[in-house]
Every structure is written in structure tokens, then in C-alpha cells.
């Protein structure tokens, strides 16, 4: 036989190599765990605490959902934060995207500046933004909504800008060639091309923001997230479970609804 396998391709060698990789990974994990006194086994040994909690939480006290007006308002607040955060954030993001995209920017320098700002904004954790707004406008849903809006700008500014840059060049040239101004080109050649992706991302942003609104509510003192954390802190576990169940249902339903609206909006190429 004149053909042979490379040494590294022999099953025995491959076996040894993989075993080496895996044991290094295992060693790193075990080493780190012991260094931080972190014991994954706790999950098994302490499991009875979880079981205790489950016992304490059941049956969920669903009465809390309609007996307290506050809860109802908090749910509305969560939805409103997500809705307004998405609306304001994506509007601003759209505007910035046209400034940032290379083919629509009024001046290359403006484009570079906006892109850099968006990149910086994107890495700032949402918690920091929220804390800043809490100091500026005080505890409550408004701060949460503003930080969601800022987060949306970071998340979608770049996405929108990429969509605009990805627009086909031929229609743009065609509209220019009839003597249209830059704004007219954006209105008649760019917008129709990028609108479907804008709309799809709008709904996507809403889904993300709804979840974030629940999470940020814990810190922002508003919304259903805050109510859950309060219920937990006050050791009213049965109320908490009812709220959690309701939250899951809410997110579920809203997601389905936004899926449906999106497919309708995209199917009819709305707003053209």
C-alpha cells in the first residue's frame, strides 16, 4: 500500500488528542471552581432547599392578580415601557442610521462619528444606563422606558445602518438620474428597500424589550418585575408564583401577537 494516513489522523492519535483537550478543559474548570470556592455539587446536595421552595410556592395565589389594582397597573407599566421604549428608540435609531450609513450620510465625517457613538453605546450595560436615568428622573417607569429606548438605539442603530448600506444601488442611481434630491432618493429608492427589514426588527426589538422591561423593573421600582421581586422579598412566595405564571403567559401571548402582526405588516408591505 503506497498511501497512508497522516500521523495526526490515526484514530489512536486522534483519541489521545481529544482526551488531552477534554482533560485540560476539565482541569481548568475544576481549578477555577476550587479557586472561587464554587461547588457545582451544591446543586445536588442543596436540592432540598429548592424542593422546599417549590412546596412553599404552591399553590400559586392567583387572587393577587385581580384583587390588587397595583398589580394590574404594574403589568400595564411593563407593557408600556416596552412599547414606548421600542417606539422612541427605533425612531431615533432610524434617524441615526441614515446619518451613519455610508450611502446616505450627509458627510463622511458625520457617518464615522455616529457609527463610533453607536458602537460605544452598544457596549454600555443596560444597568448603567438605568442607574443614570434613575438619578436624572427618579425612580419609576419613566426611567425604565428611557433606558430601554437608549438600549434600542444601540441595538438597532447599527442593524438599520447595515440594512441601508445593503440596499441595492441601481434603483438609487435611477432615482438620482431623474434629478431627485438626496432626501427624495431616500424616500423613493432607499426607504422601500429597507422598510421590510425595519418593520421585522421593530417587532423583534419589542419582544426583547418586553423581557428587558421585566428585568429592569427589579431595579427601576416599576412594572411586574418589581412586583415579583417585592413579593419574593416579603416572603410571599405564593403571590410571586402567580405573578411569574402570569408573566410567562403574557410574554408568550405578546410574542405570538407580535409574530402575527409582523407577518401581516410584511405581507401587505404596509406603510409603503
Amino acid at each position: 500500500m503506497n498511501v497512508s494516513l497522516d500521523k495526526q489522523y490515526l484514530p489512536s492519535e486522534r483519541y489521545k488528542r481529544h482526551a488531552a483537550y477534554l482533560s485540560v478543559l476539565a482541569l481548568v474548570i475544576i481549578g477555577l471552581c476550587t479557586y472561587f470556592k464554587f461547588e457545582p455539587l451544591l446543586f445536588i446536595t442543596d436540592f432540598h432547599y429548592m424542593a422546599d421552595l417549590v412546596v412553599e410556592m404552591t399553590p400559586p395565589n392567583f387572587e393577587v392578580l385581580w384583587r390588587k389594582e397595583k398589580i394590574f397597573i404594574s403589568i400595564l407599566q411593563t407593557l408600556s415601557m416596552a412599547f414606548l421604549g421600542t417606539l422612541v428608540g427605533s425612531t431615533v435609531a432610524m434617524g441615526l442610521a441614515f446619518l451613519a450609513a455610508r450611502n446616505t450620510t450627509p458627510h463622511p465625517t458625520v457617518g464615522v462619528i455616529v457609527r463610533t457613538l453607536l458602537a460605544i453605546e452598544r457596549v454600555i450595560p443596560s444597568l448603567v444606563i438605568l442607574l443614570l436615568f434613575l438619578i436624572a428622573v427618579g425612580l419609576g417607569p419613566f426611567a425604565g422606558m428611557l433606558s430601554l429606548a437608549v438600549g434600542t438605539v444601540g441595538m438597532f442603530g447599527k442593524l438599520f445602518a447595515n440594512a441601508i448600506e445593503g440596499a441595492e444601488k441601481e434603483p438609487i442611481d435611477a432615482v438620482y438620474s431623474v434629478g431627485a434630491s438626496k432626501l427624495q432618493v431616500i424616500r423613493y429608492a432607499v426607504m422601500p428597500q429597507v422598510l421590510p427589514s425595519f418593520i421585522a426588527n421593530l417587532f423583534y426589538a419589542f419582544d426583547i424589550n418586553l423581557r428587558a422591561a421585566i428585568g429592569l423593573g427589579v431595579f427601576g421600582g416599576a412594572g411586574v418585575g418589581y412586583e415579583i421581586s417585592m413579593a419574593m422579598r416579603l416572603v410571599r412566595y405564593r403571590d410571586a408564583l402567580a405573578l411569574i405564571c402570569f408573566t410567562i403567559l403574557l410574554v408568550f401571548v405578546v410574542e405570538k401577537l407580535s409574530d402575527w402582526l409582523r407577518s401581516r405588516a410584511l405581507g401587505q408591505d404596509l406603510l409603503k
Binding site: I29, L32, C33, F36, F38, P40, L42, F43, D46, M50, L53, L76, Q77, S80, M81, F83, L84, L87, V123, I124, P125, S126, L127, V128, L131, L132, F133, I135, A136, V137, G138, G140, P141, F142, G144, M145, L146, R211, A212, I214, G215, V218, F219, G225, I228, S229, M232, Y237, A240, I244, T247, I248, L250, V251, F252, E255, Q268, L270, L271, K272
Partner: protein, 269 residues
Amino acid sequence: MKQNVSWTYSSYRRKQTLRNWTVMLATFFCAYWAGISCKVDLDALRAGIPKGIEFISYLFPPDWTAFADMAMPALETILLAFLATVLGAFLSLFFGLAASSNIAPRWLRNLSRFLLATERSLPEIVILLLLISALGLGPFPGVIAMAFGCIGMLGRLFSDAIEEINPATLESIESVGARKLQVIAYGVLPQVLPSLLSNTIFRFEVNIRLSVLLGAVGAGGIGFQLYYSFQTLQYQRATTAILITLLLVFLSERLSNSIRKKLSQEAKL
């Protein structure tokens, strides 16, 4: 061409305008009520902006001496995210297989998909609150909460990737007399490995961001330092924590992007 006789540009235009106005009015209506329930207060915002700017000036200069204190928490955050990603990805592999129609029986697939969807609608912070009330504060509940989040997202992505595998390939492995587990090891895993790795690495990036938030609730790490410094009004120390967080997020994004670019080239085969 009979059906086009009644078509005129003005009626088409009118229909479109009507639709646009309906959408816009509905949006404004929703926004108005959302604004009321959110307690939107533009005066407060106007008054708040100078307050915020003044506050930002308190943040500077960063407390450079705190860097030494923050090194360990930063490392802890990376470790938290790493462990959670490894654990979550490992578990989500099983959920992913159980949620794939070409591997699992129908009832198991539907059950797993339902569980994954339920998990995804529950924010990680709520899971963390639950775990904290059961297990107390500390990094351990944080890891478990993030791992849960991993399972929800990765399990779904894995099963989507697995369902895309050509069933004929799996059948051909079955035809040599292989067992189900062997079919998974030889037909499924090698095919989904690149997308599996790239999603896992993306999730690591998400987990780094998430661990800041979860840390603030009590999972430790840099997030806890950040929140604690804010709460105790040590703003310059908080700036240090913010800078370190930015660095972590930035580096994890870079790392994940470069690795994923490589993986996607490999996956093109």
C-alpha cells in the same frame, strides 16, 4: 383585463392613505396611553438632563486605586459566564436533541419545545430571584440562572439546526445497523458542531452582559461591585467598575466575533 377596469390611481392612493392613517392613529393612541401609564414627564426629563450631566461629572475621575480591588470580581464575572455557558450548552444539547422532530418521538419533541418556550419567556433575573430565595446569595444561583437562560436559547437553536439535517443521511447510518445513540454521534453531532459552537460562543457574550445585571441582584462579580458602589454613593469607584465592564463586554464581543467568523468559514463546506 376586466378586473382592472375599475382601478384608478386615485382610488389606490386613497386606500393606501387610509391604511397609513389607521396604522399611525393606532400607534399614537397606544403611545398616548402607554405614556400615561409610564408617567412620561417631559418637564422632569428637561430638569433631569442637567442633573444627569452634573451627576456624570461626579463620576470623573475614575478611582484608579480601585482597579486592584476590581480585578478579582472581574475575573469572577468571566468565570461565572464561562461556567454558565459550558453547563448550559451541555444541558441544552440534550434538550436540543429531545426537541428535534427527526430524533425524538412527537410527544417528547412537543413537550421539550413547550418547556424551552416557557423558559424563554421567563427573564433570567426572575429565575435568579427564585434561586436566591432557595439557595441564598452568591455566585452559585447566578450560574444556575444563566445556565437556564442558555438552555432556553441554545436548546431552541440547536434543535432548529438538528431538524435541518437531511433525514436520508440519518437513515443511511441506520441502514448499517447502527443504534440511535450512534446515529446521533455520527450523523447529528458532526453536522451541527460548527453552528453549535458558534451559538455557544455568542451566548457567552450574552452571558457576560447578563452577569452584570445578575451580579447587581447578588450573584457577585463586577456587577455587584458596580451596583454596590452606586448604592453607597462611591461614584468614582463605580466609574472604575463601569470601565472594567465596558472592557469585558468589548473584549468578549471581539473574541466571539473573530471565532465565529472562523467557524462560519468552516461551516460552509
